[in-house]
Amino acid sequence: MRSKKGVSEYTAVLILTLISLAVMGGLVAYAMSSGSRNASGVLQQEKQLGFEAGQVVKVVFYEQENGGTLFLIEDVGNLPIQISECLQGGAPVSCTLETPPPNSNPVSVIEPNALYALFVNSGPQGVEILTTQNVLIELTSLYSLSSGTPEYAFGTQSYQGQSYLGMTVVAFPISQLNDNSVNCGSPYDTQGYTAVAYVYFTDPHPTVSIVTDDGMEVFLEQVGSNSWQSVFNGQAWHGQGATEYQQTLNVNKNQEYVIAVQWFNACGPGMSALQITNSQLASSFSVTAWLWSSSSYPSYQLVAANPSSVPQGATVEATGSW
């Protein structure tokens, strides 16, 4: 009787021990697991968070060449990066990593705080790199040498400091456009600018907002299409105080467009603000300031006939960029 009780205790302890070891083994396997169940274990989750925070890539410059895009990138994080795959829109694309020109030697690891040239066999939009630690880094939202998103708010002195479209109005970077006195006297009564830039859209339905005193129009042309599209159809092209207009576009996502902005100020204070959502500039705005010699302003038909050029008959006052 007593012997039977002893065996039973022994068996129970053995079973308990086996269960404990099995649970322990399971927990170890769960915590240490990786591969197909990435980041499922506690350790993996923490590790993933660390790598996501430590592998930060900034694009400092890019240009399109030889049917692809050359990104000049810098790892501003704390950890080196090894690229396992380049993607565009989720699909794999070929890419090569080199030291920057003029040396251009192939390398495999991106060390922090140094520049590298990444040539991706695709356009510049929607490009991502997947690191060997399974961190997905998007390159395109981080452009810096180009002017970022197409938005600005410029005005003559009385408008400066005011807020439109969530932006504070500052002086025009081309100083002549801030000169009120040229606007109301002979021989020039009207002043304006023509600004041209390249832009990509990250959504097929971006919104264009403008605030203008006096008239303004935005034109778009998909590169190579030879067909300009007027955004506001001349509705904003007339004398007025600061007035806001907004329009939603239908565009092709991730395709390069030329954007041309025409603006005029017919005597007195003037301002011009532009904001385009879901878009990314691929260049800065190349700007020409012009003067119009008659007492009125160029007709809408005249600027719409050649949107990316200074209105025919206008006198070029200055050139620059923003």
């Binding site: 012997s3 205790e9 022994y10 053995l14 968070l49 660390g50 925070a53 400092v60 810098e74 960029s321």
Partner: protein, 132 residues
């Protein structure tokens, strides 16, 4: 016999408990270490992002001497890791730290239309930048 088996059972139980204790100790240590790693990297990233916004350099090109004068107009020291020469991209790698309010002259190749200083925080400042 019974006493021996009881002692055996107690010993096995003690070993099992000890192993479980060891497991939890090592698991806790590993998770804690990995958490510290994640927190350290997150703090570093937050610091970089904050300092990126505050960084400000004024870059001027002196054609007479083919020098780039880089003035730190921000509040924190900036480390220049490269100068870009454009167009026909050419990169001059370097490591030069400019203290706030001070300037540093960097030799560049003449004949380029644009020069840009790239910092360790990933910011790039072109020589057309207006000082404010």
């Amino acid at each position: 016999m019974v006493r021996a088996k009881k002692a055996q059972a107690a010993a096995v139980a003690a070993i099992a408990l000890f192993l479980i204790f060891l497991f939890f100790l090592s698991a806790f240590t590993s998770i804690n270490n990995m958490r510290l790693f994640a927190v350290k990297e997150e703090n570093y990233e937050a610091q970089v992002l904050a300092m990126q916004k505050e960084e400000s350099l004024c870059v001027a090109y002196l054609p007479q001497s083919s020098q780039l004068v880089i003035t730190n107009t921000g509040a924190n020291p900036s480390t220049i890791v490269a100068v870009l020469e454009l167009p026909n991209l050419r990169v001059i790698s370097m490591k030069v730290t400019v203290q706030p309010g001070y300037s540093q002259q960097v030799p560049v190749d003449p004949g380029y239309t644009e020069y840009a200083a790239v910092t360790s925080l990933g910011n790039s400042f072109a020589n057309t930048t207006t000082c404010s």
